[in-house]
C-alpha cells in the first residue's frame, strides 16, 4: 500500500512520518512517531484517552485523519515534562492520586492543559465541563477535578 510522507511539529520537534491512506492520527503518533503517550481506548471518540492538542485545541486523535495534521502543531502528554521537571498538572495528578491505572491520564492532562491556557482560573464546573469528553473507570473523577484545580492555583501562585 502506498504511504504518504507527512511532517508536523510534535511537542516542539519537527517530525516526519509515513502515513497510510485513511490512517488516523493516533496510529501515526504511536506507530509512526513512536509516541506512546496517547492511548487507544475505543477508536470511536467515546473515551478521550487519545486526546492530543492540535494548534493548542483538544482533538480526538483516533478520529482525526493523520494527514489533516500536516504542518500543524501537535502536543501530547509525552511533551509535558521539561526534562526531569514534571508539568504542574502532572505533579498535582501524582500527589492527588488522580491517576490509578493511568489509562485515561494522558487525555485528561491534555484537556486540562488546554483549559488552563484559555482559562487560568476555572471554576469546578468549568473543570468538569472540560473533562466531560474523557472517561475514567478508576478514580471517580473527584481527584482529577481536584488535581486540575490545584495545578491551576499553583500555576498562578495561589493557594488551592
Amino acid at each position: 500500500m502506498p504511504k504518504k510522507p507527512m511532517s508536523f511539529t510534535l511537542n516542539d520537534a519537527e517530525t516526519g512520518v509515513f502515513v497510510e491512506e485513511g490512517q488516523n492520527l493516533l496510529e501515526a503518533l504511536r506507530r509512526g512517531a513512536g509516541d506512546l503517550s496517547p492511548k487507544f481506548g475505543c477508536g470511536q471518540g467515546t473515551c478521550g484517552a487519545c486526546t492530543v492538542l492540535i494548534d493548542g485545541a483538544p482533538h480526538l486523535s483516533c478520529l482525526t485523519l493523520a494527514e489533516a495534521a500536516a504542518s500543524r502543531r501537535v502536543e501530547t502528554t509525552g511533551g509535558l515534562a521539561a526534562g526531569p521537571e514534571l508539568h504542574p498538572l502532572q505533579t498535582a495528578f501524582m500527589e492527588g492520586f488522580a491517576a490509578q491505572c493511568g489509562f485515561c491520564t494522558g487525555g485528561m492532562l491534555m484537556v486540562a492543559k488546554a483549559l488552563l491556557a484559555e482559562n487560568p482560573r476555572p471554576t469546578r464546573e468549568e473543570v468538569i465541563e472540560a473533562i466531560s469528553g474523557n472517561l475514567c473507570r478508576c478514580t471517580g473523577y473527584g481527584p482529577i477535578v481536584d488535581a486540575i484545580l490545584t495545578a491551576a492555583a499553583r500555576m498562578q501562585g495561589r493557594a488551592a
Binding site: M1, E21, G22, N24, G43, Q44, G45, G48, T51, A57, P58, H59, L60, C62, L63, T64, L65, E67, A68, V111, A114, L115, I128, E129, A130, I131, S132, G133, N134
Partner: protein, 261 residues
C-alpha cells in the same frame, strides 16, 4: 482501504467521487471500524467552508464550521447552547455543522436548533433548499453542502433542551428546540423541532399551530404539548423505548417552552 483526496477549493472537489469529510467524527469511526465501507474520502480545505458571514437578516454558516466556532461567534449566540450540548470539548473542536445535518439518529442536535430557527441549505452548485426538504431527501442526497443559511435569531428567541442520560455529555434521548416570536408572555408564532424522535429531526407542526397566540404558562402551552406527538415517530433504541420517548416528549416540550429546570 480508504483513499483520501484533498482539494483546496469547492469547485475542484465537485467532480470527485467519495464521502465528503467534515470533522470526520462519524466518518473516521467508520474508517476505523470498517474501512472497506468507505472507499474514498474527500477532504476540502477551502477556507470559505469554515466561514460565518452575515448578510441582511440572514447568517450564512459554512458547512465546515465547528461547534466550537459556533459557540465563539457573536452572531450565533442563540445557537451557542445548542452547540455546547454536543459531545465534549475535543469533539466540539472537530464536529461540523455540515456533518451534523447528515448525522443519523440519535445524533443531529444542532440540526434541531437550525430547523426551529428556519434554515436553508445551500449546495456547492448553488442549489438552495429548505432544511426540512433536505432532511426528507438526505439519505439519497448527492453533492457538497456549502453553507447553511439561517434567519438571524436572538438568544431569547431560541429555546433548546437536550434530554440525555449522562450529563454534561451524553447522546440524546431527545432534543427539542423552539423559536418563539411575540411578546415575552405570549407567542405570536412558533417553530418547534424535535431530534431523536424520528428518522431525521422533525418539526412538530401541530404543536406550532396550538401555540399561536397562547400565554406562555403551564395552562397556555398544555394543548401544544399534548399535540406534539402528532408529527413525531419515535423508535426504540439502546437509550430509550419509543413508548418512553412518547410519554416524556410533552413534558420536556413544556419544560423547554417555559424554561423550567
Amino acid at each position: 482501504m480508504t483513499t483520501v483526496q484533498t482539494f483546496a477549493s469547492l469547485a475542484e472537489a465537485s467532480a470527485a467521487q467519495g464521502a465528503i469529510m467534515g470533522g470526520g467524527t462519524l466518518l473516521m469511526r467508520q474508517v476505523n471500524e470498517a474501512p472497506h465501507t468507505v472507499p474514498g474520502l474527500i477532504r476540502i480545505t477551502d477556507p470559505g467552508l469554515s466561514r460565518v458571514s452575515a448578510s441582511g437578516d440572514r447568517i450564512e454558516i459554512g458547512a465546515g464550521v465547528t461547534m466550537r466556532q459556533v459557540m465563539d461567534h457573536p452572531d450565533l449566540a442563540a445557537f451557542a447552547p445548542v452547540a455546547r450540548a454536543i459531545g465534549g470539548p475535543a469533539l466540539r473542536n472537530m464536529a461540523t455543522v455540515g456533518g451534523n445535518l447528515f448525522a443519523p439518529h440519535p445524533y443531529g442536535d444542532f440540526t434541531v436548533g437550525l430547523l426551529a430557527a428556519g434554515a436553508q441549505v445551500v449546495w456547492a452548485d448553488g442549489r438552495r433548499e429548505e432544511l426540512e426538504d433536505f432532511l426528507r431527501g438526505r439519505v439519497s442526497a448527492q453533492g457538497i453542502l456549502a453553507t447553511v443559511s439561517v434567519v438571524r435569531t436572538r438568544p431569547e428567541q431560541l429555546r433548546f433542551r437536550k434530554v440525555s442520560r449522562t450529563r454534561p455529555k451524553g447522546v440524546s434521548v431527545m432534543s427539542i428546540a423552539a423559536r418563539l416570536d411575540g411578546t415575552g408572555s405570549s407567542a405570536s408564532s412558533a417553530r418547534i423541532a424535535f431530534g431523536a424522535m424520528g428518522p431525521t429531526p422533525l418539526r412538530a407542526r401541530a404543536a406550532e399551530v396550538a401555540l399561536q397566540g397562547v400565554r406562555l404558562d403551564t395552562d397556555g402551552v398544555g394543548p401544544a404539548c399534548a399535540a406534539c406527538l402528532e408529527d413525531l415517530s419515535p423508535a426504540d433504541d439502546a437509550l430509550a423505548s419509543a413508548w418512553y420517548r412518547a410519554q416524556v416528549a410533552p413534558i420536556y416540550l413544556r419544560r423547554c417552552l417555559l424554561g423550567e429546570s
